[in-house]
């Protein structure tokens, strides 16, 4: 009784932002609705909430602590608006807003506030002669969407960042605000802590089977389609043969690099090729390396997240002249995603030379550490898949982000929640990212994939 009247008294958020997600626990708002429904429907997320909680049982036992292989915690942690697809820019803008107000959204009474250690240093994208026109048109789109990006000539580049060698750079774009990098682990912990405080149950195990029921329906054109509903998910407990059948009303596939396998278990893609039934979820794991090196004469505090025209990237890490960086391999050089072993030759051959050419100080450096992580790589068009599957009616996707999942996660979570609760996208229109596009062949081509 008192609770209801207090919520009524609070009324609308004074900022009128209409997001309404930062009042934890109250039943009138969106977060509250989510937790209510979660309790009622016991939704099963082979993935978990919006983040990359996923089962690791496809791997040998020593790797099976949750999150050790999750892309989130192995990520370099960058967030940028410098994309070419407007929806990607919007997703990233929403997410940065979320991150800035994270202690209002994810506040838990009596727990310390979160510090995601955000470095607002921006991204610097360098383009050669070939890519300059594309860069310029991308910046125009980004500005239209509200990103704060400016273009720089090689001269301006040399003045602003004297440690850059602008040879070969025709144009550069620099994000002044809302871009940078942060600690993905604290975001993950913050989200877990908050949803746990709201009553969500976490369980750990491997999803081995989906039990679904089928229904036949006819399309307007008279074709017969089989609609499926997942009723039960079998979760196999670690190190045992037992499994727990979990009844569910909704399944959200946020399994990151393993979403493709999960989707196959649910029957996505089992049908003659070329039909909707036969369209698989084209997400597969792709291994990417990240190297940490020390260079005492390297660029200083002002260093942004630099992405060279060659695709190699680096950013500052901490105050001790340490830098993180890497490069995406070409299709032919794709490493085997069987394990997360690091190829150090790759650094010598493919990462170091372009970076040393761009930043002469990097000619002498010392690699301190390296690790590998997976991209949930969408082989179709390297953009996310969000929304329901047309045939398995209660399965929703939130995967396939191919390396920019972390920075879009809060916005995607919002989108999936809206889809589940309202049946359509309300804040950001992600209809170009629906599953249908794989069958229809409509690629959403993103130029700036790192």
């Amino acid at each position: 009784m008192l609770r209801r009247s207090l919520q009524f008294a609070l009324g609308r958020d004074v900022l009128g932002r209409g997001l309404g997600t930062h009042r934890g626990g109250s039943t009138l708002d969106w977060n509250g609705k989510m937790s209510e429904i979660k309790k009622k429907i016991q939704s099963v997320l082979p993935g978990g909430a919006w983040t990359q909680l996923h089962d690791t049982s496809y791997l040998p036992p020593e790797h099976s602590d949750v999150y050790s292989q999750a892309s989130t915690v192995l990520s370099v942690g960058g967030i940028r608006q410098q994309f070419s697809v407007p929806e990607n820019i919007q997703l990233s803008l929403f997410s940065i807003d979320f991150l800035r107000n994270i202690n209002e959204y994810l506040a838990v009474v009596d727990d310390p506030p979160l510090d995601i250690q955000f470095n607002p240093s921006g991204y610097l994208l360098l383009a050669s002669e070939k890519g300059a026109a594309v860069l310029e048109s991308n910046v125009r789109v980004q500005r239209q969407e509200g990103a704060k990006v400016c273009l720089m000539s090689p001269e301006q580049l040399r003045n602003k960042f004297p440690w850059i060698n602008p040879e070969g750079v025709a144009l550069a774009s620099y994000g002044m605000e809302h871009e940078g990098w942060f600690d993905p682990w604290s975001l993950l912990q913050g989200l877990r802590r908050k949803v746990q405080s709201m009553g969500v149950l976490f369980c750990q195990g491997e999803v081995t089977r989906f039990v679904s029921s089928s229904n036949h329906a006819e399309t307007p054109s008279g074709e017969e389609v089989t609609l499926k509903r997942v009723h039960e998910v079998h979760v196999k407990i670690d190190h045992s043969l037992e499994y727990q059948p979990v009844e569910c009303a909704i399944v959200i596939n946020a399994a990151g690099a393993w979403s493709g396998q999960i989707a196959e278990l649910a029957g996505v893609g089992k049908g003659p090729p070329g039909t909707l039934q036969g369209t698989k979820l084209p997400v597969e794991p792709r291994k990417r390396y990240v190297y940490l090196w020390n260079c005492p004469q390297g660029p200083g505090l002002e260093t942004p997240f630099v992405i060279d025209a060659s695709g190699a990237y680096f950013r500052r890490e901490g105050l001790g002249n340490n830098y993180l960086g890497g490069c995406s391999p070409t299709e032919e050089e794709e490493p085997d995603p069987e394990n997360l072993e690091v190829d150090h030759e790759f650094f010598q051959d493919k990462v170091w030379p372009p970076l040393a050419q761009r930043v002469p100080a990097f000619e002498s450096l010392k690699v301190r550490s390296a690790w590998a992580g997976y991209y949930d790589y969408n082989t179709f068009d390297q953009n996310g898949v969000v929304g329901p599957h047309p045939l398995v009616v209660n399965m929703y996707f939130a995967t396939g982000f191919s390396g920019h999942g972390l920075q879009q996660a809060p916005a995607v979570g919002r989108a999936v929640a809206e889809m589940v609760l309202h049946g359509n996208f309300q804040t950001i229109n992600l209809s170009p990212f629906l599953f249908n596009r794989f069958h229809l062949g409509e690629k959403v081509h993103e130029h700036n994939i790192i």
């Binding site: 004074v14 915690v73 192995l74 009596d110 510090d115 955000f118 607002p120 002002e302 105050l319 010392k366």
Partner: protein, 251 residues
Amino acid sequence: PLHLMAPVWNQGTRGIHGLSKAVAPEDSQRKGRSLLQFLADHFYDVQALREYLLRKQVLKVHQKNRPFTHIKERFGPHAAGAYFILKQGGAVKFQGKEWIRPNTRGRFSLDFLKFPEVPVEAVDASGSAINYHGLDNLLALKELQSLWLRHCPHVDDWCLSRLHSLANSLQELSLAGCPRISERGLACLHHLQNLRRLDISDLPAVSNPGLTQILVEEMLPNCEVLGADWTQGLRLGPEEQSRDTASPIPA
């Protein structure tokens, strides 16, 4: 030529988690369960009341930082910015005029509204509740030369990333005593190429004040940086000092 140094592959740290200083621990063991917390855990009403009170505090800060659009439209950005600062309890100096401060009752003269074209030269918003949104009012002051934001509890790294709009005019900036500013926000100050005086002393959230000061000085070569004494980290502790001055062991 690439100098190949002996590589040291350290497989210990997986991801940047090893290097991060994440605040939230896995299971937060609450130190000393207070009565209030006990009540909140057991009664929904008490929990709701606590959440309400917390929410009210946050709303109060937002309310203080609301924009005064009607003043901006009528009198222009300088007058609106000045009004905002004076409302917060800060002080404003227009070009060619004296400092305007609110009196102990929070009242101030509205004479400046008669001269809407006169730009604001200096702002002292120390101790005010200005935050990321309230900063909008300051960023419109395109001829601002001095800005003091000492001991502002809501000025954080995100706010510093917005200051680049003042790069053309800003010459003096003081951030002393702001509890939320860390070295990550200070890295954004490199946009302020006209800055000549910067005060970054007494910033509790900066992890390594001495090193940070050196890096900021390198980043802004034309700027005088006041901050922690760089020998702070090198200062010997009392036992070490006595050891140094102790006489050598006699032969």
